[in-house]
Assembly symmetry: C2
Homo-oligomer: 289 residues x 2
């Protein structure tokens, strides 16, 4: 590692992939949403790091894409879950938006349509899995079927219970097919959500972002925290572990998710494919054309 890249790396005193990972004995209630674990710097450093890392991320994504054109089967899936206003949109704009849009497929899972309800809960999710070479992003996901479904009683407990196992089997298949899964919960505090919802009501040009249903869901905050805790315990596996990212500081959440994505792509370590044609021959053909 050269001196200059070492100093650029030095903002991370420890890796979010380790620090934020949901392991045994994890308690969501122990996480401080206002913390900035592992990051040795302030907001200005965070924003600088975000910009600086964009080009490496874009380069790795292009390699992943190039590889797929020559038979590579690998892809990445970034799955985002969070309470309202936690900053999923900001991650999409500022982290995912730094990569070539041709290499990104984003899908926002809303309340299921009648057609989707006619199938098992993973049906619509399978259809949106990233193709080889792509970074897929799920804005919400199949976890809604064990979160809001549990909190609001949309499904009975035995069905929810069965879904944890189905999810683990599903994610294991997805990984075996070549997709690296990064599961992220953006974690804000109850107070910070109030501040952010309040801004949407105070500023007329933000009114459209507010939905009265947001406060309905907010009333169930403790139940949601319990549902997340249960989901983490049952589905943070070696194959696809959860990461809880403190998100009261937007800049930290962004740079931490960017780092998770970066480390995943570095581990995949995609290479520029070698030509599968005769380069010298093609040079002559081109020259004559």
């Amino acid at each position: 590692m050269t001196e200059s890249s070492k100093s650029a790396e030095a903002v991370w005193a420890a890796e979010p992939s380790t620090l934020l990972r949901v392991g045994p004995h994890f308690r969501l209630s122990d996480v401080d949403p206002a913390a900035t674990p592992g990051f040795d710097g302030d907001e200005a450093d965070g924003k600088r790091e975000l910009r600086r890392t964009n080009s490496e991320l874009a380069d790795l994504q292009e390699r992943l894409w190039a590889e797929s054109r020559f038979g590579g089967e690998r892809s990445v899936l970034l799955l985002l879950q969070a309470m309202d206003t936690a900053g999923k949109g900001g991650i999409l704009r500022h982290v995912v938006g730094g990569v070539d849009p041709q290499g990104i497929s984003i899908h926002a899972f809303k309340a299921p349509t009648e057609a989707e309800k006619a199938h098992d809960f993973l049906w619509r999710v399978r259809r949106e899995l990233p193709a080889a070479g792509m970074i897929g992003v799920f804005d919400r996901s199949h976890y809604e079927d064990v979160l809001i479904h549990r909190v609001r009683g949309f499904s009975p407990p035995d069905v929810i219970e069965r879904r944890y196992g189905m999810i683990n089997d599903f994610e294991s298949q997805v990984e075996q097919a070549g997709t690296s899964i990064i599961k992220v919960m953006l974690h804000i505090s109850h107070d910070e959500q109030k501040r952010r919802l309040s801004q949407r009501l105070e500023r007329p040009e933000k009114n459209w972002k507010y939905n009265p249903g947001d406060v309905d869901e907010r009333m169930f905050w403790p139940d949601y925290m319990d549902a997340y805790q249960a989901a983490f315990e049952r589905t943070s596996t070696d194959v696809a572990s959860w990461h809880v990212v403190p998100a009261d500081h937007k800049w930290y959440a962004r740079v931490a998710v960017q780092r998770l994505l970066l480390q995943t792509l570095r581990e995949i370590d995609p290479h520029w494919p070698a030509a599968n044609y005769d380069v010298e021959f093609e040079k002559k053909r081109l020259a004559a054309s």
Copy 2:
């Protein structure tokens, strides 16, 4: 218009939407691919203008999206056609990439699959039309069915002939449904294509971008120009006109396409939706939560 915005606008001495528009008596062979029509500046000015305009574009797109959440049905479709290496990818990275990725849907049309061939040529195109609030981008399109199909004889002349009319009817329906269509041909010279293909062969990390088929297509250059000319004459309508963008200078092509997109969004003039709930009542509910 304020002084400061006037000076920012001043790089465009005339609008690409007028200058580059394919009207009656247009001849593709009269267009100089190395020209920079309407732009009063050099490469550095072009790059500055590209960065400067990103934020207005992003703002307009967010308004378009917001409008759609409250019943708005409008969307934009940017359709890109070009000879290989003309710079479609650069437009996607540098122009489209400046907008929130949640508001963009990109589809690259490749050689049709067997399933797609089992339907009429517009079937797969309809499926990829942008939803309300979105900017859709077609990387190639239904025009392949009157371009390569004509040049390579994949379809007989009477079928091609019929398709022009089908395309006009189709695009007219799309516009009536609320989608503003911007049709762009990026126009490079035969020599510039040779230089760009040659770079892909010279630089090992670019080898994967080269396909021997690219030179095969290059051999048919004059036939492609004829096919474009015919397509322009038959399908540059008042509803959905073509724009031929000189593309030997990548910076010009990018800033010109950005301007076309910007002007279309300005014409749509989307507004922040008004709240459809009682703001004061919600403030009280939130405060109590």
